[in-house]
């Protein structure tokens, strides 16, 4: 099923793991070289910046060469049926297989671009052929994304696969009528929790050893969808949308409020207890979602007081954590254990700071009194999974 050479994939996995231990000073240089020598692979996987450049250039090439072909065919007669996108999809997919099998591209940008273009074209042609929507479309995309994630071990594709799976369950369950709509949140919770559980069980198993990226993304996606399934705002607005009503409250409102508020805290608790970064970060992120949900229905105080209070609270918590962890305690440390290549190379933190604060509170020339206010976009953008 998997398109890549499995020995090379194992070698790559080994290299990454031992490289980290080498950087931590656990592996002597001579052994690191021995591991490197014994774990050679022939993949072409360029540096991440090159990958971005190659991705963009491949898209340009594909768009214009498809455009040229289309223009030539168009001038010789109509092509308004599904056959043409299907043809282009097949051409792109063959190019993808060729690049991966013959030129050994592995996450090079070229293969990413071809993968997404061929998948997109295939979906276009499916919609043109069948006029499918809702359940049918979800089933098709789910199957397609599933096959492609299994074959190319692509993390984003696996997220698409999971989301379309949810959509499939959603549209399928809706078909059973009003009972379906009423029990929808619980079904979504069950499905999300089930997927999360399954992923956790299979995390260290042999079958999933080449899907580490996919497993990571699927954990995040299922945790977020588990929360969203019971979030008061989502449940109420979706309920209104499905029934075409404008309601003041919903049945079991107390339950969904409890879910909205306590789930993030449970995630954080679980994250700290299991030392699970994914759970912890999802929980922290969802605190913001819980706050936004609350603000959508209740107005406790003017926005500026909320901002100041939350800001002070965040700084206070940070101060306490910082002091508590001035030396590592209970297995936690405030120190960075491993340098992150992208963060270091681009000094992302400084760019975010500059982007968020550079134009705050700068004395203004023309706009006169429009003082302060400022931007505070990008909350949480420093976290990054």
């Amino acid at each position: 099923m998997i398109i890549y050479n499995e020995t090379w994939l194992s070698n790559l996995r080994r290299l990454h793991a031992v490289e980290q231990d080498y950087q931590d000073g656990l592996v002597p240089e001579i052994e690191w070289h021995a591991v490197q020598k014994a774990s050679e692979h022939g993949f072409y996987s360029p540096n991440v910046f090159m990958r971005v450049g190659l991705f963009a250039l491949t898209i340009i090439t594909s768009v214009f060469s498809s455009g040229l072909l289309t223009a030539i065919v168009l001038s010789n007669g109509g092509i308004d049926n599904f056959g043409w996108p299907l043809f282009l999809a097949i051409v792109h997919y063959l190019a993808l297989e060729y690049q991966v099998r013959v030129n050994h591209h592995y996450r090079s940008g070229v293969d990413d671009a071809l993968l997404w273009i061929s998948a997109g074209l295939l979906c276009t042609s499916f919609v043109m052929a069948t006029d499918a929507e809702g359940f049918g479309l979800a089933c098709f995309v789910f199957l397609l994304a599933g096959i492609l994630s299994l074959r190319f071990t692509d993390a984003v594709m696996s997220a698409v696969c999971f989301l379309t799976f949810l959509a499939m369950v959603f549209f399928g369950w809706q078909k059973i009528g009003s009972l379906g709509n009423a029990t929808m949140p619980f079904i979504m919770m069950l499905v999300s929790a089930g997927v999360y559980r399954l992923i956790r069980l299979k995390l260290d198993s042999v079958e999933t050893r080449f899907y580490a990226h996919c497993m990571l993304v699927l954990q995040v996606a299922s945790l977020l969808s588990l929360y969203a399934a019971g979030n008061y705002f989502v449940v109420k607005e979706l309920n209104d949308m499905l029934n075409g009503t404008v309601s003041k409250s919903i049945p079991l409102g107390w339950f969904f409020w409890a879910w909205t508020v306590t789930m993030p805290l449970l995630y954080i608790y679980g994250g700290l207890k299991q030392k699970n970064a994914i759970l912890l970060r999802s929980g922290l992120l969802l605190i913001a979602a819980a706050a936004a949900t609350y603000k959508a229905y209740y107005r406790l105080m003017p926005v500026e007081y909320t901002l100041v209070l939350c800001g002070v609270a965040a700084l206070l918590i940070a101060y306490l954590v910082n002091r508590y962890l001035s030396a590592p305690r209970n297995g936690f440390t405030r120190k960075q254990l491993r340098k992150d290549y992208l963060m270091e190379e681009l000094q992302i933190e400084s760019l975010i700071v500059s982007e968020s604060f550079s134009e705050t509170a700068v004395p203004l020339e023309e706009n006169g009194r429009e003082f302060g206010g400022g931007q505070f976009g990008g909350g949480g953008s420093g976290g990054g999974f």
């Binding site: 090159m50 260290d204 100041v308 800001g311 000094q347 500059s354 003082f371």
Partner: protein
């Protein structure tokens, strides 16, 4: 990778039993880092607080009174700087590691409240009068001073952004990508001068060993601004004059290209290739468009198909050659 797989490494004789033991001990200890969580929390705290205070002041200006507000801002600013000075490490031309993330962000909060203070003074009391240049020049100087004395990269990039504002332009991506930004010769030249200035500053930092690690921030902004302004100049002028800009671009691109290869930087090499691709494509499209019949469309499509493939293979080869260096 789980521990069984490390056992395989031992069986294959690639690592020693000692090494495996060390690795197992580390896995068992399982130290968990909250470094980024802490930083994100601090970032959110500073963002929310400074935004909230800004609105608070703006809304209540008539009820609290100006002196009270000024004092409050000054007090916050002073408190932050007092904390940071207390924990400050001695100055050095080399990199000085931050005390901890908390102090880093308190310094940022102090700096932001200082900027608010100056801004407020100007808006309310016009301390700089109509010398608007001074109103941005002084904060910029202070920002550079803080950045160098406390060794703070975030404040350095803010200082660079303020330098741009003092020169009358903006370096936010939103502004740079907007189509109508480069609609006058004056803007183009300002951006070009700023870009070159930053490139010089970058190389000065490195050659003279004055905070070498500031190199990236200067170079990053310098490279983008210089390339973008040269491209803007190229597209601004008519075909004849634009060739001069093309030449200038080529010279700069060559310099940055050789420099990037020398420092094995994938990032700056990629930028050079991508910006050059835009220039080459612009030149080809402008040249093709002299042909006045319908084959011009086909030629355009063909150009992009072929050039795309050519640049893909160029990037792939560059990646290989940088790796080999």
């Amino acid at each position: 990778m789980n521990l069984n797989e490390y056992d395989e490494l031992l069986d294959e004789g690639l690592i020693s039993a000692d090494t495996l033991d060390r690795i197992k001990k580390k896995h068992a200890a399982g130290l968990f880092s909250v470094f980024w969580e802490l930083k994100t929390m601090l970032y959110i705290g500073v963002s929310l607080l400074s935004a909230g205070l800004g609105i608070l002041i703006y809304k209540n200006i008539d009820t609290i009174g100006h002196q009270v507000i000024l004092c409050a801002i000054a007090a916050l600013c002073a408190a932050c700087f007092a904390w940071c000075s207390k924990h400050k490490k001695p100055f050095s031309y080399e990199r000085v590691e931050a005390v901890d993330s908390f102090t880093d962000y308190i310094l940022l909060l102090g700096t932001l409240s200082f900027l608010s203070f100056v801004g407020y003074l100007q808006v309310q009391y016009e301390v700089f009068g109509t010398h608007y240049g001074m109103a941005t020049f002084i904060p910029m100087l202070v920002l550079f001073f803080i950045a160098y004395s406390f060794d703070h990269l975030g404040i350095l990039t803010m200082a660079i952004a303020n330098l741009a504002i003092w020169m009358g332009v903006s370096v936010t991506p939103k502004k740079l990508l907007a189509l109508n930004t480069f609609d006058s010769e004056r803007t183009i030249y300002t951006y070009l001068i700023l870009g070159l200035l930053l490139l010089v500053a970058a190389h000065f930092s490195e050659r003279r060993n004055v905070k070498r690690h500031f190199f990236f921030s200067y170079h990053h902004y310098g490279v983008h601004l210089a390339y973008i302004s040269l491209l803007a100049g190229y597209f601004y002028y008519d075909y004849g004059i634009s060739l001069i800009w093309l030449g200038l671009f080529a010279v700069l691109a060559w310099l940055i290209y050789t420099d990037s290869l020398a420092r094995k930087s994938f990032y700056f090499t990629m930028l050079t290739v991508v910006y050059s691709y835009i220039l080459v494509s612009g030149f080809c499209v402008r040249s093709i468009s002299f042909i006045h019949n319908e084959s011009v469309v086909y030629l355009g499509f063909m150009y992009f198909s072929i050039s795309g493939i050519a640049f893909v293979s160029l990037l792939m080869n560059l990646n290989k050659s940088i790796k080999k260096l």
